[in-house]
Amino acid sequence: MEALAMKDSAISQNGTERTLYPYVTGTSVIGMKYKDGIIMAADTGGSYGSTLRYKSLERIKSIGKHSLLGASGEISDFQELLRYLDELVLYDNMWDDGNSLGPKEVHNYLTRVMYNRRNKFNPLWNSLVLGGVKNGQKYLGMVSMIGTHFEDNHVATGFGNHLARPILRAEWREDLSFEEAVKLMEKCLLVLLYRDRSAINKFQIAKITEEGVTISQPYALKTHWGFSAFQNPSKGAEGSW
């Protein structure tokens, strides 16, 4: 693994480096608007290739007073982003003018950062979900590693795009209560746990409302294996799966 051929090396002709592939990665993040604000969920796993190496990673963080950021992809790049955002929020506070960065502003900043890095062929290898509430306005958006960005009522990254979004399209409503939103979120998380190789059974659900941010302690979900078809699948077809 260490002895990469020269052509695989990230140090090109002009001596600068660029990211080729991610190492420690987080999997899907799901976000949706509900009655009082935004709810976001992710598991706490950090995969190292196919090894489930880290099991207590927090992939959802609060930004300023009004936003939540969830990230999938390379964890070191996410941590770098958090540093940038920290500085942004600090400067914002230093103005001491009573204004504070809302989710729309943070989303825009992230878009600029991601797109600029993409143009230098040195992307931050993440898919980001940014959600928040300011002055009663709910906001939920996504930014990808190439700078593609958009807002929607429900978003998901990675495998969530393929497995969670169809469920959300069918069952999401504008006026979901917190309890209903959590149940819908858990329905998506369970499918991801069954079908995404890099998912682990340890989740955090975060919510943001006008009142503030709450990020739950990590918890696990019950899985279901009691189908009669699972007992003896090769019965009558020896050698099948």
Binding site: S47, S50, T51, L52, R53, K55, S56, S62, G158, F159, H162, E179, V182, K183, E186, Y194, R195, D196, R197, S198, N201, K202, I205, G212, V213, T214, I215, S216, Q217, P218, Y219, A220, L221, K222, T223, W225, G226, F227, A229, F230, Q231, N232, P233, S234, E238, G239, S240, W241
Partner: protein
């Protein structure tokens, strides 16, 4: 490399075969993946070759299935001609023959286990390339990387049936905890003089390891039961 539905079906897998005083225990996980997607979360990787010999399959699902099918067919004929159950050694060598002579095209690593009246319980490993190795216990598949240290410490000669089965279930469960390509349920097959017993240990009945948590029906239950502390900022 996200949802590549044309990626070959491969059984990332953890497979184990262990001899004990009286027979063998075969164990495996149940996850079959197509790239990063879990195509089957409850597959049966321990396949029957004869009444007394079973095979644990890993690697390409297609390759291992078709080789098992051929070997089952040959062994059936062999049993008829011999007039008695085939030996484990013959079954293992048939697998080896096919694996070795098609080594450039096949991608499978298997563990054959069974019981016959001449040698009792036996385990044979046939990894990539078609080598055959008789061993007191064998581990294979991507999840086995996480078990070498475990078996170095935990394996003992002459275990009882229950001790051996507990060891196998514990090992597969530990591999599932760390290998993304292994998951689902733990299936075991016990083969001895009395016959064959198949068992099934589902996800929620397996022990919890480091940094794994007790499962709940929903976050709402946790919030309802203990008010002050669950949420933090």
């Amino acid at each position: 490399m996200d949802l590549d539905l044309n990626a070959p079906h491969s059984m990332g897998t953890t497979i184990i075969g262990v001899t004990y005083d009286g027979g063998v225990i075969l164990g495996a996980d149940s996850r079959t993946s197509t790239g990063m997607y879990v195509a089957n979360r409850a597959s049966d990787k321990i396949t029957q070759l004869t009444d007394n010999v079973y095979i644990c399959r890993s690697g390409s699902a297609a390759d291992s299935q078709v080789v098992s099918d051929y070997v089952r067919y040959f062994l059936h004929q062999h049993t008829i001609q011999l007039g008695q159950p085939s030996t484990v050694k013959v079954a293992a060598n048939l697998v080896r023959l096919l694996s070795y002579s098609n080594k450039n095209m096949l991608q499978m690593g298997v563990i054959i286990g069974g019981w016959d009246k001449y040698e009792g319980g036996q385990i044979y490993s046939v990894p990539l390339g078609g080598t055959i190795l008789k061993q007191p216990f064998a581990i294979g598949g991507s999840g086995s990387s996480y078990l070498y240290g475990f078996f170095d410490q935990a394996w003992k000669e002459g275990m009882s049936k229950d001790e051996a089965e507990k060891l196998v279930v514990k090992a597969v469960s530990l591999a599932i905890a760390r290998d993304g390509a292994s998951g689902g349920v733990v299936r075991t097959v016990i083969i001895n003089a009395d016959g064959v017993t198949k068992n099934f240990y589902s996800g929620d009945s397996l022990p919890l390891w480091h940094e794994e948590l007790e499962p709940h029906n929903s976050l709402l239950d946790i919030l309802a039961s203990s008010s002050p502390e669950p949420m933090s900022t």
